[in-house]
């Protein structure tokens, strides 16, 4: 029964989206029309609800697991402490940033009316000096503009932005930089003549590298650039298009198999032995 429910949970929403694609939003039965968009909206609303539920359960699970490890002093309790502290720190950063953002939005909303007033005045008597336009504002409107200016001018520690700019981005860049080293090392290994295929790959790579380089072009009197261009535009492009065609057809087929519950390891409806 559970398997059938899972299968139905996949099949029904996917079928609705498939119908939407084919029919353009509505099924027509003579004069009657069955609008499928509300159904699709319900499904798309369910997704964030389920996600939030899953996140909530995850938080409860995280604290019950690591909280128990801390309370019972299990062997790896310091790591549990790190997890809990990291969570608390990140949570605080998000809450503090949200409060700051809310204050900024509030000030901007208040200042918006004053700015509109200034623009209106400037449009009426164009060109009007800014000071003259400001004189027409009420005390509250001027105060709102000043508050926003004061808020923008003063320094506010923004935890989430700080984390993203000074912690997350540099770490990600460091990992990305490692890729340069790895690519060089992999290329070196790929250039070893261990088989016929590797030899062909090495030769074509050498032609493309030298052909794309001005020195290679000058030394070969334009022959290598022409070969490299032919390799890129004809051979590589043909191969890529062939692969893309195969992948596109296979993607449709696998999606269909998942939809019908035939793929093993996902819906798990079959029990045949391999």
């Amino acid at each position: 029964m559970r398997r059938r429910l899972i299968w139905a949970a996949i099949f029904v929403p996917a079928s609705i989206y498939l119908l939407l694609f084919f029919t353009g939003g509505a099924l027509a039965f003579g004069p009657r029309r069955l609008d499928l968009s509300p159904l699709a909206n319900i499904i798309s609303t369910c997704v964030p609800v389920l996600t939030v539920m899953a996140v909530g359960l995850g938080v409860v699970n995280l604290f019950s697991l690591h909280g128990a490890a801390l309370v019972k002093h299990r062997p790896e309790w310091p790591l549990s402490l790190v997890v809990c502290l990291s969570f608390a720190l990140t949570f605080w950063a998000c809450v503090a940033q949200n409060r700051l953002d809310a204050r900024r939005r509030q000030l901007q909303a208040a200042a918006q009316a004053a700015r509109a007033e200034v623009r209106t005045f400037q449009n009426l008597s164009d060109p009007a000096p800014p000071d003259q336009a400001l004189r027409h504002l009420t005390h509250e409107q001027r105060q709102a503009l000043e508050d926003l200016q004061a808020f923008e001018d003063s320094y506010h520690f923004e935890p989430r932005r700080f984390y993203a700019t000074y912690v997350n981005a540099p770490l990600a860049s460091t990992v990305m930089a490692l890729l340069g080293f790895y690519i060089t090392y992999a290329a070196y290994r790929a250039f070893r003549l261990k088989s016929l295929e590797a030899t062909v790959m090495m030769l074509s790579a050498a032609v493309v590298i030298l052909g794309s380089d001005p020195v290679g072009g000058a030394l070969s009197r334009g022959i290598l650039p022409a070969w490299a261009d032919f390799d890129n535009r004809v051979i590589a492009a043909g191969m890529q298009r062939g692969l893309r065609l195969g992948i596109a057809v296979a993607t449709i087929a696998v999606s269909l198999r998942i939809l019908l519950g035939l793929e093993r390891g996902i819906v798990d409806v079959q029990h045949k032995e391999d």
Binding site: F21, A172, Y182, V249, L256
Partner: protein, 310 residues
């Protein structure tokens, strides 16, 4: 005949879907042609969208017919994929040297990627083989939504092998934080545990080489499979076996030898054959002056970037 083990709904679902898709495609194509006749100002985008939907319907119908034919015992023969054959050997070798196996869909393998789901039959097989050889299996996961999917695949594989108690030896670790942080944590785990067999299947992005090079460092047998053209070159350079492009999509059918899945593979090949025929016919028609106007119109519709395309 409907098998009692498969259940009645599985028997009727492909037939119902075939009829539904067939009807829809006929209705849609007929509607599109009538609309374009009625409206001579129909732009290239509208025609292109109609043809795209018709082509999709044709592929879907062909695959469903392939499944249907396979159920009747008329599946086409399928060639073996060396990378997938090596998978069983890799797990067995890892068990021999008493080192674990590792399976991951990478830091980009989110639940929204169908490639992540297509990799699950392979995880199921690796789990099954790990249960058979009583060997450890390491599974790093980046996204919370993928955790239960992985757990389910491992449990199903172990249940197939009759070794559900072996689940304690299958470690699924959740490394959140996105692609690169996942890669760092998972490769750190690899360096710590030194798995002898590493499997990378699914949707891969820049972290592919981080995993593959770390696997090289610990001298693991590595098998990778993805349909991401930009990452295939990295996997070819760094892994022992690479399952390229559509071979990855054929993996579950190839490994299970399920006639229905093999039937859909045969249908895919027929569709590709049809595409090849269209391409060849197009090339030949280009040489005939009588079809120059047709070719020019087709180029206008499919090559130029008009508005309204699907």
């Amino acid at each position: 005949m409907p098998s009692t083990r498969l259940g009645r709904y599985e028997f009727f679902a492909p037939r119902a879907a075939t009829v539904l898709v067939g009807l829809l495609s006929v209705i849609h194509l007929a509607g599109s042609s009538l609309a374009s006749e009625a409206d001579p100002t129909a732009d290239a985008g509208t025609i292109r969208a109609a043809v795209q939907r018709g082509a999709l319907a044709a592929v879907v119908a062909a695959v469903l017919l392939g499944i249907y034919a396979a159920r009747r015992g008329r599946a086409l023969p399928i060639r073996q994929i060396p990378g997938l054959l090596a998978l069983r050997q890799a797990v067995a070798s890892a068990a021999q040297v008493r080192r674990p196996s590792l399976f991951t869909v990478g830091g980009a393998g989110d639940v929204t990627r169908v490639q992540s789901f297509a990799a699950m039959p392979l995880l199921r097989l690796v789990a099954r083989l790990s249960g058979k050889y009583q060997n450890r299996l390491l599974v790093p996961v980046c996204y919370p939504a993928m955790l239960p999917v992985h757990t389910h695949a491992i449990r199903a594989g172990l249940a197939e092998e009759g070794a559900p108690e072996h689940e304690v030896a299958c470690e699924i670790r959740f490394f959140p934080g996105g692609q690169f942080f996942f890669a760092m944590a998972a490769t750190g785990w690899m360096l710590e545990e030194k798995p002898a067999a590493c499997f990378y299947f699914g949707w891969w992005e820049a972290d592919s080489l981080l995993f593959a090079e770390t696997g090289q460092t610990i001298q693991a047998t590595q098998i990778a499979g993805t349909d991401q053209l930009s990452q295939i070159a990295f996997f070819i350079a760094a892994c022992d076996h690479t399952v390229i492009g559509e071979e990855f999509w054929a993996a579950s059918a190839q490994l299970s030898r399920d006639p229905q899945l093999l039937g859909s593979l045969g249908a895919q090949d027929l569709v590709k054959l049809a595409i090849l025929f269209v391409i060849l016919a197009g090339i030949l028609l280009c040489f005939h002056p009588g079809f120059a106007a047709w070719i020019a119109a087709a180029r206008e519709i499919f090559v130029s970037r008009g508005t309204g395309g699907a």
